[in-house]
């Protein structure tokens, strides 16, 4: 047997360790499953950590009501195949209950509203740990976040009060009402994720691969035309071959021109690209230099 492990083997081993620590240390963990590629990898790692037993936690999707139908279809087929429990909590309900107010205008997005729905669901189920697929390479504020990221009773993140993490020793002690966000993919990069999807043959929503779609160009991004987006005067929909690099709301997730129909072709395109994943495709990060940090402090994913 070879005594050399590849970088993917090492990342996989670390993530499985984190998933098992989470299950062992917390009473009521939940895995946040968005249907995106990172949560698809997270889910596969959870299977690796706990099979042949069932997962020791449910999955939860925070549904903005503005999702890509392909992603919802993927979510349901994946949950069905695995036979695991899925909880869905929706931003529409939060709006109907008056917990949040829908934004208006052509750039209205439900992105920020998700935070309330998420925190309400965490309180409702008394979850003490929420596993997410965020990576440190995505964004500057994330680069400093811990694997076990402590949230106070209001769900807030305080970048200055983070617990030091030494060796693999994770401190999951909390008081009632507090919780921890857990990020098993902290040390993965976008390319690692794709290489792993390729190696493991992980199923993904079809929108990650090139397809023909009606889009408009706005703020330098190609946004999908959908019932959730209001076109303003000069905007004219055009049919373009595109794929998505990330999966978020239809209102704020941009696509890229692409002809990549297989994982190998997607990896080649990513290899050649010169623009970061979030920079290219996420309107939500563009508000300011500190957009992500501000949202994270409030309790965002």
């Amino acid at each position: 047997m070879r005594y050399n492990l590849s970088h993917l083997d090492m990342l996989e081993a670390e993530s499985i360790y984190i998933l098992r620590e989470t299950a062992a240390v917390f009473e009521r963990p939940v895995l946040l499953f968005s249907g995106g590629k990172d949560s698809a990898v997270l889910l596969r790692l959870a299977e690796k950590a706990f099979r042949p037993a069932r997962l020791p936690f449910p999955l939860m999707h925070v549904d903005t009501g503005h999702n890509f139908p392909e992603v919802l279809e993927y979510r349901d087929r994946t949950v069905e195949r695995l036979g695991e429990r899925l909880i869905v909590r929706s931003v529409q309900d939060s709006i109907d209950q008056g917990r949040v107010v829908e934004q208006t205008g052509p750039r209205a997005s439900r992105n920020r509203l998700q935070t309330t729905t998420l925190l309400d669901a965490i309180a409702e189920f008394r979850f003490d740990a929420a596993l997410g697929g965020a990576r440190r390479d995505e964004e500057k504020a994330r680069a400093k976040e811990r694997v076990f990221s402590f949230r106070d009773e209001f769900g807030q993140w305080d970048p200055k009060m983070q617990r030091p993490e030494l060796w693999g020793l994770l401190n999951g002690r909390i008081h009632q009402g507090e919780h921890v966000r857990v990020f098993p993919l902290s040390n993965w990069t976008e390319l690692d994720v794709w290489q792993y999807i390729d190696r493991e043959g992980i199923d993904l929503p079809s929108i990650y691969f090139a397809h023909s779609r009606s889009v408009i160009s706005r703020d330098g991004m190609l946004l999908a035309v959908s019932p959730y987006i209001r076109l303003t005067e000069p905007e004219v929909p055009v049919e373009v071959e595109v794929r998505f690099r990330t999966v978020g709301d239809m209102t704020c997730t941009g696509s890229v021109r692409s002809s990549a129909r297989s994982i190998g072709e997607v990896m080649r395109e990513i290899a050649a690209t010169r623009i970061s994943e979030r920079g290219e495709t996420r309107a939500d990060d563009r508000f300011s230099e500190a957009a992500m940090e501000d949202r994270k402090r409030e309790g965002y994913f």
């Binding site: 690796k48 400093k144 030494l166 060796w167 020793l169 500190a290």
Partner: protein
């Protein structure tokens, strides 16, 4: 990341991984050096670079401040300093790198301890004009305390001393007596200019007298495979896999990550602290049974006998066991603003085991600059390092840290605030 993506040098899908950390005093050029490594390995995307260029313009600096690439949080941007550990990723066709960027201020020694705890290699940055400072001593001492296998001392800002060999050699000579008092296995000196790029990625034409490789070349080639401990079998049990379904009615597996050693089906093993023995029936993974498991693989062991095994137990070999004891002597780095309470009770996390411990005695505090032991010390404050004796409520199964970085490390947690207050390095 993107260097790997040059069509001429495709990244091998399976490359290996090096974890490194950086340390340096404020203004020694650490952020600039890291920015340069990221920039030259093309790990920075255009939009990120543009954001930095924009920020540099707004601040009216005359050159693109590569340091801005690594300063993530708003507070840092406002104060213009780095305040926490941040992780960076870059790769070359040979290796993938995970870099823990730790700040150099006195008050943030705890962050360096954190960033260094898992590092294969540490870069200590020294300003060529300043020489060996208190901070350089502290950083080098911490790297030796945490037993980082490889240390690189970068003498930076060589451009400001006319790239003079004399300055470099004098600095080296000043460092060597200090280094000889520390327990370091592999130390490399490299003269660089982070700002201009000399000896970072390209060999410097300004310093023809230096015949060693540039920094990145060293990072790509330093041999780390032999740093692993493949001798002492240590498998901390993390989780019990019990499906209790019809298909897997009797399945009972012990899941965990191999800390050290090699585990194979058929091996006789002992479970501690109970001392019961059995044999490995199989080493399971999601992808099927594997012939053997090595560190740091996460696997599930099945044993031939039905033993009572729980989380926190350690699987080892009968002829090679860790120490099992409630008395633990450790060097600790204090990480909280609330000082150590001698005689106080803390929660302990060691491998996958949690226990409680009384700090029975503070033997001494180490003066990091002189390495002098102050036996009159009565407490440890934030960033102090000292030696303590702990008495735990249940036995821990441990090895000396110098032999095993996993079974030799622990943390102390304040039971009231749940803060992680100390990192412990077990002696023995």
């Amino acid at each position: 990341m993107l260097a790997a993506m040059d069509p001429q040098t495709p990244q091998p899908v399976e490359s290996d991984l090096l974890r490194l950390s950086t340390a340096g005093s404020v203004d020694d050029g650490k952020s600039t050096l890291i920015g340069r490594l990221l920039y030259e390995t093309k790990s920075i995307f255009e939009d990120q670079l543009e954001a930095v260029e924009r920020a540099s313009r707004e601040k009216n600096t005359e050159y693109v401040n590569l340091a801005l690439l690594t300063d993530g949080l708003r507070a840092e941007r406002e104060q213009g300093i780095t305040i926490d550990v941040a992780y960076r990723y870059f790769s070359t066709p040979r290796r993938k790198f995970i870099l823990a960027d730790t700040p150099g201020h006195v008050q943030y020694t705890r962050n360096m301890v954190t960033g260094t705890s898992t590092a294969d290699l540490t870069i200590v940055l020294v300003d060529a004009r300043k020489g060996l400072t208190e901070q350089s001593r502290r950083h080098t001492f911490i790297a030796s305390l945490l037993r980082v296998p490889h240390l690189v001392i970068c003498i930076n800002k060589m451009d400001l001393v006319d790239y003079a060999e004399r300055v470099y050699e004098d600095l080296r000579a000043e460092f060597l007596p200090f280094l000889s008092r520390l327990d370091l296995r592999d130390v490399t000196f490299i003269p660089v200019s982070a700002l201009h790029g000399d000896n970072v990625v390209q060999r410097s034409t300004n310093m023809p007298w230096f015949d060693g490789p540039p920094l990145l070349h060293h990072l790509e080639n330093v041999f780390i495979a032999s740093d692993r401990n493949l001798i002492d079998v240590r498998f901390p049990v993390q989780w019990i896999v019990r499906p209790m379904t019809n298909a897997h009615h009797d399945y009972r597996g012990y899941a965990g990550q191999v800390a050290s050693g090699v585990l194979k089906a058929g091996d006789e093993v002992m479970v501690l602290p109970s001392g019961l023995t059995s044999h490995i029936a199989s080493v399971d993974t999601y992808d099927g049974a594997v012939p053997e498991a090595i560190p740091p693989m996460s696997v599930t062991l099945r044993l031939t006998d039905d033993l009572d095994v729980s989380r926190g137990d350690i699987v080892c070999r009968p002829n090679n066991q860790p120490v099992v004891s409630q008395d633990v002597d450790a060097t600790i780095c204090w990480m909280s603003t609330k000082p150590l309470r001698t005689g106080g009770m803390y929660s302990v996390k060691h491998t996958t085991r949690s226990a409680r411990a009384v700090v029975k005695e503070l033997r001494y505090r180490v003066n990091i600059n002189t390495l002098h032991r102050d036996e009159s010390a009565t407490t440890l404050e934030l960033n102090d390092i000292g030696r303590v004796s702990l008495r735990t409520t249940t036995p821990l199964c441990f090895d000396p840290y110098r032999r095993n970085r996993t079974t030799g490390g622990l943390i102390l947690i304040d039971e009231a605030t749940n803060e992680t207050v100390a990192a412990g390095i077990i002696l023995g």
